[in-house]
């Protein structure tokens, strides 16, 4: 039996207040056709309208990124509420 064709996916992660509001912290999301940005994933997952609220930050593969950064299969995309460390 041939293996099913792999669907390109990304991992989406939410933290703190965002995680609680959405009711989930991590999801595997199919990337779909064509180029997809972090902001489009935000909208597609029903996390909120675009543009994203200014205080939110985005990380792709654990590095800060901009909202229109293009995603590739296997990426880890995270939406980060305002930071309060230290």
């Amino acid at each position: 039996m041939p293996a099913p064709e792999a669907t390109p996916t990304i991992t989406v992660r939410l933290f703190a207040r965002l995680r609680e509001q959405a009711g989930w912290g991590e999801r595997t999301v199919p990337l779909g056709e064509g180029v997809v940005s972090a902001a489009e994933i935000w909208e597609r997952l029903g996390l909120g309208p675009i543009p994203l609220p200014a205080p939110l930050r985005i990380a792709i593969n654990q590095q800060f990124a901009v909202a229109d950064a293009q995603l590739r299969a296997g990426d880890e995309l995270a939406f980060l509420p305002p930071i309060s460390g230290g």
Binding site: R13, A59, S84, G85, G86
Partner: protein
């Protein structure tokens, strides 16, 4: 300072004693070379009151495992280079932290007091705004996310 700075960064899910970490860090440094002429430390601890003035039961520190360690490392490295300091020791709590427990320890050793003090100060500000940590205050059994930092 021509050699790259030595960086030691740790996250602590359990309480840590800042002075014990410092003693171990100095001991390790002493084994290699005389202690630096200037050392600047900062210890941040949990206040016993929440932002709304009620008694604080605990501060919960959520973080982004992997990214938080990497960001702390990058921030420390960048500032150590900019200020030309020799050693940085950074410790940060995660999880549930009780009033008066330490949240953060920032320590910088350098050959001069100015770089040691400035680097420690800038590293503290940087990690408060540029590393993925989030605080939630627990008070009266209710948790409230803290957005942004206390005034400098």
């Amino acid at each position: 300072m021509d050699l790259p700075a030595e960086l030691l960064i740790s996250l602590h899910p359990e309480p840590f004693e800042p002075l014990e970490l410092l003693a171990a860090w100095e001991l390790a440094a002493q084994a290699l070379a005389p202690l630096a002429a200037a050392e600047s430390h900062f210890i941040g601890r949990v206040r016993p009151v929440a932002a709304d003035g009620t008694a604080l039961e605990a501060l919960e520190l959520e973080h982004y495992p992997g990214m938080s360690e990497r960001r702390l490392q990058d921030l420390a490295q960048e500032l150590a280079e900019r200020h030309g300091v020799s050693r940085v020791r950074l410790a940060h709590r995660v999880g549930r932290v009780r009033p008066s427990e330490a949240i953060v320890l920032v320590t910088v050793a350098a050959d001069r007091r100015g770089p040691a003090q400035r680097c420690a100060q800038e590293l503290l500000e940087a990690l408060k705004h540029e590393a993925p940590f989030w605080k939630r205050e627990w008070s009266g059994g209710v948790g409230t996310w803290v957005e942004g930092n206390t005034p400098f």
